[in-house]
């Protein structure tokens, strides 16, 4: 974009500043205030209960709570473990199959896994993995089980089921991120060069390609780590209960019958945020160490032909995770159509539409709320994102590092760390909790994902198109409306689909900011999963998964139809 065809305009800088201002003041500042509220409570200040003195007691109480150490260990084990394992497996899988899979096919394969919210996946997986679940039912005739075996295959004390559940969701996400990063690197040429020099395929991958990929996927990996360290809904369904992971324990303490528990709960919430910071610090440390060791390793020049089995093992593990995820999604649909389905039947004894019909009033309302929220948050986020990117174009100035981190901040701070405080801030400001508050709170999390999805394609758009339009006399608005947006239709819709999936999946923000009054598919599914009717849970979870899936399908279908006579726009973009 180095030409002078469209000079720097002042309104570009202004636009950039306004959007950053909106994001900073409207989205990020309240998080800060929320953190402050929670932070004050963590140090003993909670006026509503008559606590006015600065003290470390909440921290002492926190450390003395039964099972605190175990909760902490569980959180670190499942959070760090699932992130590192997912990264390892996703990398190995990409190395093994990248050459054989087009990015479009990959994206299509991954879509259902990305679309289904964590809670729905957890409900399905819990049924697949449980001792009375689908896998056990398939084995029952062979093993001669008349009753489910007493094995801790879910809610196990080590958190392994939670680890697997997180990986089922995280591996596809990282695969998508890696695939999209790979599309910006001449992988085939590097591979050919490396192979010609006698390096094994896996080793080319580790020594040459990953070091280029890492800077592009660093941020998504942090997001995954932050999420895994602070996940609540999945931990309720798959994790151990006595004690649970720290995030779940903190949520429980926040809702303890004894209101004074808010103090140690706040300390726990702050600790949760500290853990994420430490986790990211650990990744940065590993990165620095990796650079040193990697350089030494590179110079040693080992050809490492034997890395191949590792790649195939990683691929097999990824396939197993995907198979489990697929079964989980299928089980939700089957349950929603079941009437009676007891152990050890592989399929329901009787089918019925009663679960759908009986809960109709509930799910139609939850569905319409969910649609309104997804529409509003995605619309808002897209407008903000396009305004920001266009502002950058017009100002001919990229995003400063501080602006970049500002945008992604909400994804890195554990939700439980600021939502309680945020609620207090909102109430004090006289903003009643309701639809508007929930739209706002969800946009906090939808916007960063929309930015992540849109920034890459926007920047890699062929500048000659815009230059040609400018040369033909099109002004900045016309260039945006007539050239950029149509060309970017596919990535915009993909970003919208990702945004919709994020919006649908939001649990804590909807619960806290909506005062529980805004029932969405996710809040209903999580609430119902604490009940005993898996069939109704199946109804909600199926809808919960179907909605983002429909958004993704639309993101594939609409450009395919709109661009059916534009070969260069068909399937060349990474989805």
């Amino acid at each position: 974009m180095g030409t002078a065809l469209h000079p720097v305009t002042r309104d570009g800088r202004l636009l950039q500043a306004v959007v950053l201002g909106v994001v900073g003041l409207g989205l990020i500042a309240p998080i800060g205030l929320g953190l402050l509220q929670t932070g004050r409570a963590a140090f003993g200040i909670l006026y509503a209960l008559g606590h006015t003195e600065l003290t470390l007691d909440p921290w002492r109480d926190l450390a003395a709570l039964p099972g605190f150490a175990t909760s902490l260990r569980l959180t670190l084990g499942t959070g760090l473990g699932s992130t590192l394992l997912s990264l390892l497996l996703a990398t190995g899988f990409c190395a093994a199959v990248h050459a054989r899979m087009s990015p479009m096919a990959g994206a299509r394969l991954l879509t259902p896994f990305l679309a289904i919210p964590h809670a729905a996946m957890a409900v399905g997986l819990a049924f697949v993995l449980a001792p009375s679940g689908w896998i056990a039912r398939a084995l029952a005739p062979l093993a001669g089980w008349e009753r489910p075996p007493d094995l801790a295959t879910v809610n196990d004390g080590w958190g392994l089921a939670l680890l697997v559940g997180l990986m089922v969701k995280e591996v596809p996400f990282l695969l998508l991120v890696i695939l999209s990063a790979l599309s910006q690197i001449p992988v085939a040429r590097h591979m050919a060069a490396g192979r010609a020099l006698g390096y094994g395929r896996g080793i080319v991958w580790v020594k040459i390609i990953m070091p280029q990929v890492w800077p592009m996927i660093r941020l998504p990996v942090w997001v995954v780590l932050a999420y895994a360290l602070s996940v609540v809904d999945m931990a309720i369904i798959l994790g151990p209960s006595n004690p649970p992971t720290l995030a779940l324990a903190v949520t429980r303490w926040f809702t303890d019958p004894d209101p004074a528990m808010i103090l140690p709960a706040s300390a726990g919430a702050v600790l949760q945020a500290v853990l994420v910071v430490l986790g990211v610090g650990l990744l940065l440390g590993l990165e620095a160490a990796g650079k040193r060791v990697g350089l030494w390793w590179l110079r040693r020049g080992g050809r490492g032909l034997s890395a191949e089995p590792g790649l195939w093992a990683a691929s097999a593990a990824v396939m197993a995770l995907m198979a489990a995820g697929t079964l989980a999604m299928a089980s939700l649909l089957v349950w929603s159509l079941a009437w009676r389905w007891s152990f050890p039947q592989i399929m329901p004894e009787s089918l019925s539409l009663k679960p759908w019909a009986g809960a109709m009033q509930g799910w139609t309302r939850a569905l319409s709320n969910t649609l309104i929220l997804a529409g509003a948050t995605v619309g808002l986020s897209l407008v903000l994102a396009i305004a920001l990117l266009e502002g950058e174009d017009r100002a001919r100035r990229g995003r400063a590092a501080w602006a970049e981190s500002l945008i992604y901040l909400p994804l890195l701070i554990p939700q439980i760390g600021f939502l309680y405080g945020l609620n207090v801030v909102f109430l004090r400001a006289g903003i009643s909790s309701g639809m508007a508050a929930v739209i706002w709170a969800q946009t906090l999390f939808v916007f960063p994902y929309v930015m992540i999805a849109l920034s890459g394609p926007w920047r890699s758009m062929d500048p000659r198109m815009v230059n040609a339009a400018a040369a033909l006399g099109a002004g900045p608005w016309r260039r945006l409306m007539a050239v950029k947006l149509p060309i970017l239709l596919r990535p915009i819709l993909t970003a919208a689909a990702i945004g919709a999936a994020v919006s649908v999946a939001q649990y804590l923000p909807t619960l806290f900011m909506g005062a529980g009054r805004i029932a969405t598919l996710t809040t209903e599914a999580v609430t119902l999963s604490s009940g005993s009717d898996r069939r109704v849970t199946g109804v909600y979870a199926s809808l919960q998964a179907a909605l983002p899936l429909a958004a993704y399908l639309a993101a594939f279908a609409i450009p395919a139809i709109a661009h059916r006579n534009r070969r260069a726009l068909m399937g060349t973009e990474t989805a």
Binding site: P148, S241, T255, D256, S342
Partner: protein
């Protein structure tokens, strides 16, 4: 000839209250009551929706259920509203509340009231000082919450898989030894799990009368010593060796339905028959109680101090106490929850309506349920679950 006299007296006393009630009805018209209630039971949700339809037709009061996964969520919400200085127009109008949450809210001055005596249908309640409608966990209700359904601790088992069931808590040790991994209880951080421990405490304590008094360290040590011995013997033979527990009674009911355990428990004697009708439990599921009786209490609704629609909430609380509502609620095809009204105070027509309700094989009669044991003083429950967590949460 005493009765008409009392009736006349009551009527005279009630006249100003009735005028107040007309004012309440007037203020309530057009309001929407946000009823915060645990949402894990579809039948209860459906009943609450029915209540809303009725009150809208009768009084112009709509009901929106705010479905909670834990009642304490509503308490937290009221606290954060108080923290923000929001003393009116609060988001919670009515809470389905129980012992510990009631105590916390009453203790913090977070409740509206007293309002129960002003409800016209309160005349059908036994509000004498020792009645279950007047004490919640031994703490006097003092008109700050209104009863709506009866709760009694019962066990459920699958009669197709189990021949004999334990007749008391001590019997569970032998039963679990003979059937390892086939029994568990909800996590004591949950209401149901705590009730299981309280039931055991009442049965095993050397002198159960101390449980009605506020706790002391000495009393706690003496009363709970046999409990821990018993639990240490029971725990290794629980489901998953007692290392993890279902989250609540619904999760445990699902375990029973999946065949992972043979015994579950509930605070609603009708829940088993209801679940069978919904095909959520095997046809062969049945209810049993211990020989010495079981803990019973009453579920209440309370109104937060800052409720935006307190009048509407009072109208709903009053509608819940209507004999026709209670009879509808006790119908096993609707909810199956036992009535909280005092049969002595109902007229013949109302009593006949209760007697005519349908029955089901898994539905126990009131006589089957045996004596009702009083809840221990609330301080015991807190201490008991804390001590359990200290011992067994590692």
């Amino acid at each position: 000839m005493k009765l008409p006299l009392i009736a006349a007296l009551v009527l005279t006393l009630a006249t100003p209250a009735l005028a107040d009630w007309q004012a309440t009805l007037g203020a309530a018209r057009g309001q929407t009551v946000y009823w915060n209630a645990w949402g894990g039971d579809e039948r209860t949700n459906a009943f609450i929706a029915w209540v809303g339809q009725q009150t809208e037709t009768l009084y112009g009061v709509k009901v929106e259920q705010v479905k909670l996964s834990d009642t304490a969520e509503a308490v937290t919400r009221v606290i954060s509203e108080k923290a923000a200085g929001q003393t009116e127009g609060g988001s919670v109008d009515l809470i389905w509340i129980n012992g510990p949450n009631f105590l916390a809210m009453k203790g913090q001055g977070l409740l509206h009231g007293p309002f129960v005596a002003g409800l016209p249908n309160a005349r059908f309640l036994d509000l004498s000082p020792a009645s279950p409608a007047s004490v919640d966990f031994t703490v006097p209700v003092e008109g700050m919450e209104s009863p709506w359904r009866l709760a009694k601790f019962v066990f459920t088992y699958d009669s197709a898989r189990v021949d004999t069931v334990p007749v008391d808590m001590a019997g569970f040790v032998d039963w679990a030894t003979a059937h390892p991994g086939r029994f568990t209880h909800p996590n004591p951080s949950n209401f149901m799990g705590a009730t299981f421990l309280k039931q055991a405490l009442i049965e095993l304590a050397p002198d159960p009368t101390v449980l009605q008094q506020p706790i002391t360290d000495a009393a706690f040590a003496a009363a709970t010593a046999p409990l821990w011995v018993w639990y240490d013997a029971l725990r290794p033979n629980l489901w998953r060796q007692g290392k993890t527990f279902p989250e609540n009674q619904s999760a445990q009911q699902q375990l029973l339905n999946d065949g992972e355990v043979d015994i579950s428990m509930s605070f609603d004697p009708a829940s088993t028959a209801a679940a069978i009708a919904q095909s959520l439990m095997p046809e062969t599921a049945r209810v049993f109680v211990h020989e010495g009786g079981s803990i019973g209490n009453i579920s209440f609704v309370a109104i937060p101090f800052n409720a935006a629609h307190a009048e509407g909430a009072e109208v709903v609380a009053n509608f819940l106490l209507d004999p026709a509502t209670q009879a509808h609620m006790q119908n096993i095809e609707v909810l199956g929850s036992f009535s909280v009204l005092d049969p002595m105070k109902l007229d013949d027509a109302a009593n006949a309506a209760f007697a005519a309700l349908p029955t089901a094989p898994a539905l126990p009669s009131v006589a089957d349920l045996g004596p009702t044991l009083l809840e221990p003083h609330a301080s015991w429950m807190t201490r008991l679950t804390e001590e359990w967590a200290r011992r067994y949460t590692r």
